[in-house]
Symmetry: C2
Subunit: 229 residues, 2 copies
């Protein structure tokens, strides 16, 4: 008996509803900037573009709305949510608080292997900095933050953080924020790592809060400048 009879395509057993896939698709379209801020979302047009019907699309829009990525005016349709500098600043304030919390928890809950992994990431971060590779630097930078969030061992916090990060990282304003103060950022990450290794919750939290606050301030300024155009 051969195994060839078994359907090989069942590698991903996960049944995903259409509206879920559409949510993901639209979400990345918004985050990648393919759908720009304030853009009206024409249901019919999107439907034939994605080759789906309106029902699951509308369900997806509801989901993205409650995630804060889409705004809906009754009887007037949906559009990509516009991020005002004020909202952006609020978001960063929030993210800062969450990341401080995560850093504090991570300091007391992190395993040795996690700390080791984090140290490796930090080393790589520094080499990317030396190499002047801004793009990969930013990616790794976000990964490090995500790693620390995960180390908090609070999945509710983790998913919430991820959601807020999506709202904030639209248009790569955050990237600008970190790139604007490259050297400081590397140093702050180093200090944070040391605090985590020392299991100093308070210090780790403080460093993280200041770090995010600085990044946020730069990003907010970048956003304000762009809006002023």
């Amino acid at each position: 008996m051969t195994t060839s009879n078994l359907p090989r395509k069942k590698t991903s057993m996960k049944r995903r509803s259409l509206h879920e896939e559409i949510s993901d698709h639209l979400r990345s379209m918004i985050i990648e900037g393919e759908l720009p801020e304030g853009e009206r979302i024409d249901e019919s047009a999107l439907c034939e573009q994605l080759e789906i019907s309106r029902t699951p699309l509308r369900e997806a829009l509801k989901v993205l709305h409650s995630e804060g990525l889409v705004s809906i005016e009754p009887n007037r349709g949906a559009r990509v949510a516009v991020l005002t500098p004020e909202e952006f600043a609020e978001l960063f304030e929030l993210i800062g608080g969450l990341e401080r919390m995560a850093a504090e928890l991570a300091a007391s809950r992190a395993t040795d292997s996690e700390l080791k992994k984090l140290a490796q990431m930090q080393t790589r971060l520094e080499s990317l900095y030396s190499a002047g590779d801004r793009h990969n630097y930013f990616e790794l930078n976000q990964d490090i933050h995500r790693m620390i969030i995960a180390m908090s061992r609070n999945s509710t916090l983790t998913s919430l953080h991820e959601q807020l990060l999506m709202r904030a990282s639209r248009g790569r304003y955050m990237a600008i924020g970190t790139e604007d103060r490259w050297e400081e950022s590397v140093q702050e990450h180093q200090a944070l790592l040391e605090a985590l290794q020392a299991k100093d919750s308070v210090k780790a939290g403080e460093i993280m809060l200041e770090h995010v606050r600085h990044t946020g301030d730069c990003a907010v300024n970048a956003l304000k400048l762009r809006k002023a155009v």
Copy 2:
């Protein structure tokens, strides 16, 4: 031209979509415990009960899902999300962090009139405590927390907090948490008020964090006991 032509019935100009009203309705049904944890949500049944069609109901379910109040299994329908003690503990950890953040911000941003109002609420809280009025005590207690959140002047934080509170306050576990340690709670609130009046951000934050942590621990224990039955 007279003004009599203008339709008078437009007192409430807000056009609310059906799915929005249904979301609100279901949300309160879940929070009030009318729909118990784990209960299957039969779409057809609910539709004829609420006298609506399935489309807006399903949209509402998607919204409640992304709020964490409803769980959806593809092709197997929706049910009221069950709150495990672990998730509940995580939620409280999160809420604690958010409320600390809010308290810190409130200490530096609160207006005099807000502080005055808060002091009045505290006075009333103490009288409710003396009178042994547990029900109204709990209500006012929540109002005070909401008030402090609002004083943070961060609307994103405020709405997020409200959402998490809904997830956590199902079944009134939180009420049990505060009632279990009534006297301490009153004192902590008093100390918090004083820190806010002194505009001592750090202290206000610390008190708040400890306060929520204690409340949460009691609530988690209450939940675990109930689950154990």
